[in-house]
């Protein structure tokens, strides 16, 4: 039997043997085991050895050189901790880096942080940085840079979503140039995973002093340098010498903005104007399958849409109205018709069946008669008029799903008008409208989203949901290492949220992309945090 060892060389966390035992007894699956022990600082190679599997290796010898043309929106990047889309993070992540890296299989691996060791109670996390890392301006990368970033994220005046995500972080203690410690107010297992959130790239300690606009002074520790940047047009990255890690294969990565119309992106791919389109819609799948020399990429992802109701605004301040909306909706049908059945039905609590902490609650039942009765009780005997605001931010499937729901709730007497706005007009009001449809990107752990979106005062709490009971249940779950026990603790988290009827969350949408057959070494990341360092052109 192989022995588990940590990346730091220190003894493993006291809960690791128990988690290993659960895996060996078959009580948790391989994926849950790998994810949990790597979060606790165990090296991926030794964890794989215990499972008897080996990490997927390359089948062909990569070819050096060439420029990959990546079809994606090129958006403004000022302060990276403030970005709200994943597209700019893909430009960033090849130039600046994160402390950790969550791979395509949701395993957390070292990046700028070479190792981490949590205390037994998960409230103290000791990190050690990679040695000999240099910034592109020649400065040495040290814990001072890390502390600068984390302190900015959690500062009282911070407007970043990181503020609520890292609300458990009390302090960053610099031990020496390569070691630092995070002190938390409550146990949190997901810290290493959270450090790979797209708003967490590590910037140079003088970022604010030098103007606070990253594209004007794009210093990074990553394998590429930003050489050209034009919002709405293109961003060009060129491989830089002296990178501390494994050198990437491509000489250049060119991000080409093809607009918001996915059909145009597919045409560009078909006519060899781009090599990779990382996000396409379900309506494009049939077309992509017929294109010669193009590969369809697909993967399960915890990305979803939430049709949420703001409990602080009429008529949703009455829980009977919210419950009626939920009871009148049929999530399975919305998946089948709105997303062509290409995903997994969701259960109105924002935890996916494939999240490691998921607890299976009894299935939801549609009950139009009860919905009508609740509406009548709430004073809407003759039905209710509501307007759902949406922006089709990811494509028309959002609107398609809303139209299916519109038909369903009409049976209960809810006359739902769709207020479809252009995405640019939707984002300024996405968390202000009483009734809105919001796309939520993939996060490897459900608690990461729950923290942001449903904890009282959370940065992106669009439903204005606030419950001390929910917060306490969430705190309890985030501090449990044992995946089985954590899943059981999540039962109350899921149930409280489901009972509060905060949202209709129809389904978890699978992710799709397309690329030219000449692109190799690329896998679609479930969160579209696409890593291009392994990609090459045949």
């Amino acid at each position: 039997m192989f022995k588990l060892r940590t990346n730091s060389g220190r003894p493993v966390h006291p809960d690791v043997p128990q988690v290993t035992d659960l895996f060996l007894k078959g009580e948790i699956d391989r994926r849950a085991f790998l994810r949990t022990v790597t979060l606790l600082g165990v090296s991926a190679s030794s964890a794989f050895a215990v499972t008897g599997a080996t990490p997927a290796g390359a089948q062909e010898t990569p070819k050096k050189g060439g420029a990959l043309r990546y079809g994606s929106a090129v958006m403004e990047i000022n302060d990276p901790m403030m970005i709200t889309w994943t597209q700019p993070s893909n430009v960033l992540r090849n130039v600046v880096e994160y402390l950790t890296r969550v791979d395509e299989d949701n395993m957390t691996l070292p990046s700028l942080a070479a190792s981490w060791d949590p205390s037994a109670d998960l409230t103290t996390w000791k990190f050690k940085l990679q040695p000999n890392v240099k910034w592109s301006n020649g400065d040495a990368f040290t814990t001072e840079d890390v502390a600068f970033n984390i302190r900015r994220w959690i500062a009282p005046e911070s407007k970043s979503s990181n503020k609520s995500a890292f609300s458990a972080v009390k302090d960053v203690e610099i031990v020496n140039d390569l070691e630092f410690t995070l002190h938390l107010s409550r146990p949190t297992l997901a810290i290493p995973e959270m450090l790979f959130a797209y708003t967490c790239p590590i910037l140079h300690r003088k970022f604010v002093e030098q103007g606070g606009v990253w594209t004007k002074n794009p210093i990074g520790t990553g394998p590429y340098s930003l050489v050209e940047f034009a919002v709405g047009q293109k961003a060009t990255l060129r491989r830089r010498d002296g990178y501390w890690g494994k050198a990437p294969h491509l000489d250049e990565i060119r991000f080409i903005d093809l607009g918001t119309d996915v059909s145009a992106s597919i045409q560009a791919l078909a006519s060899n104007q781009v090599d990779l389109v990382p996000a396409i819609n379900t309506t494009d799948i049939d077309v992509v399958k017929r294109l010669p020399n193009v590969t369809l990429l697909s993967g399960r992802a915890a990305q979803t849409i939430c049709i949420r109701m703001q409990g602080t605004q009429k008529p949703f301040d009455d829980i009977r109205v919210r419950k009626a909306m939920v009871l009148a909706s049929d999530n399975q049908k919305m998946l089948e018709l709105g997303y062509r059945g290409l995903g997994v039905v969701a259960e109105n609590h924002h935890v996916a069946p494939f999240h490691p902490e998921y607890f299976k609650l009894p299935p939801l039942k549609r009950d139009v008669a009860q919905a009508k009765a609740l509406l009548a009780e709430a004073g809407y005997k003759d039905g209710l008029d509501v307007a759902l605001t949406l922006g089709n931010t990811q494509g028309r499937w959002e609107q398609d799903t809303a139209q299916i729901m519109q038909q369903q709730v009409a049976e209960a007497g809810i006359r739902m008008r769709l207020d479809v706005k252009p995405a640019s007009e939707f984002w300024p009001i996405w968390d202000k409208v009483p009734f809105g449809l919001t796309f939520w990107a993939h996060r490897p752990l459900a608690v990461m989203t729950l923290d942001l979106a449903y904890r009282a005062g959370g940065s992106w709490n669009e439903s204005r949901y606030a419950s001390a009971e929910f917060d306490a249940a969430l705190n309890k779950a985030t501090g449990i290492v044992d995946p089985k026990a954590r899943s059981q603790a999540m039962e109350s988290v899921e149930r409280i949220l489901q009972d509060a009827a905060v949202m209709v969350q129809p389904y978890w949408a699978d992710r799709f992309g397309a690329m030219s057959n000449k692109v190799r070494g690329f896998r679609l990341h479930p969160a579209t945090y696409n890593n291009l360092t392994g990609a090459w052109l045949a």
């Binding site: 309506t283 709105g338 398609d400 519109q406 252009p422």
Partner: protein, 279 residues
């Protein structure tokens, strides 16, 4: 009506009239003609002639959400005919009122109104539509407003030119000398003599407005979903057109046939009015 009768003796105009009539009939009797509820989702992406769950047929197939395309086209005719008719009427009311006043009063009234019309006409029409709809939001009334704003100046110019010509004739001078009310002169003496060219223009303009409503729908600025809207149907289906061409072909045929019908009818009316004048 006499002109219409003369025009319908020409085959092209008769065909145009028939095409327009079919769509008007669809608009009027949509609930009875459509085989299914145009908003009801049934089986997605069925091809033309595929069987429906109730044993009937989806004669033109179904869309991505499983809605019967034929039913949506028939109800879409109602959308186009109603809103295009309303928008054209509104544009004509504004354009005719302005044109009559400018042509009859001339002087400062003419200069101010002509200046305003020229300012609006100097903008590209589509840009103007998009600006108005994006600012005010997509709704039927806002489409009417946008079409009125963009089309009224062109109608104004036609009516103004006709009014200047007619106002210089003896019977108008006689009416003025008799002390007739200005509004009465404009409505009773001038306007009826300007209707011939205006009817021809109206036919063509209705077609353009139908195309505009389709274009706005295509750009995602048309009537809010789930209203059946031909342009919106083309927009919804174009991404999958390579595999499911029926999603776009039938709405395109609907738009083209209405436009062609109105053009043929307008040509017929123009010819009929010319031959009438010669007679």
């Amino acid at each position: 009506m006499r002109n219409l009768g003369r025009a319908l003796r020409r085959p092209a105009a008769a065909i145009g009239f028939a095409m327009v009539s079919v769509w008007v009939a669809c608009a009027l009797f949509a609930p009875w003609l459509a085989p299914y509820d145009p908003l009801k989702s049934q089986v997605p992406l069925q091809f033309p002639f595929d069987r429906a769950p109730d044993g009937g047929h989806f004669w033109l197939g179904t869309d991505l959400l499983g809605r019967d395309i034929l039913s949506r086209l028939i109800h879409g005719a109602r959308t186009v005919v109603f809103w295009a008719g309303l928008a054209a009427s509104s544009a004509y009311i504004v354009g005719i009122t302005g044109g009559l006043c400018a042509g009859f009063y001339r002087g400062i009234t003419d200069r101010v109104l002509s200046f305003l019309a020229n300012v609006v006409l100097s903008f590209p029409v589509l840009v103007l539509y998009i600006l108005i709809i994006v600012t005010l939001g997509a709704s039927g009334l806002n489409i009417v407003l946008a079409v009125t704003f963009a089309s009224a100046p062109a109608i104004f110019r036609i009516v103004r030119a006709l009014s200047i010509d007619i106002a210089s004739r003896d019977f108008v001078s006689a009416a003025i000398t008799q002390g007739e009310n200005a509004v009465r002169i404009m409505l009773v003496d001038i306007l009826p003599n300007a209707t011939g060219p205006l009817v021809v223009d109206a036919c063509l303009r209705l077609g353009y407005i139908a195309i505009t409503i389709g274009t706005l729908g295509f750009l995602g600025l048309g009537l809010p979903p789930p209203t059946p809207d031909w342009g919106g149907m083309v927009n919804e289906g174009r991404g999958m057109a390579m595999v499911f061409p029926h999603l776009v072909v039938f709405p395109c045929i609907a738009i083209s046939s209405l436009m062609l019908g109105l053009s043929l009818l307008a040509d017929g009316l123009r010819e009929a009015s010319r031959s009438g004048s010669r007679a």
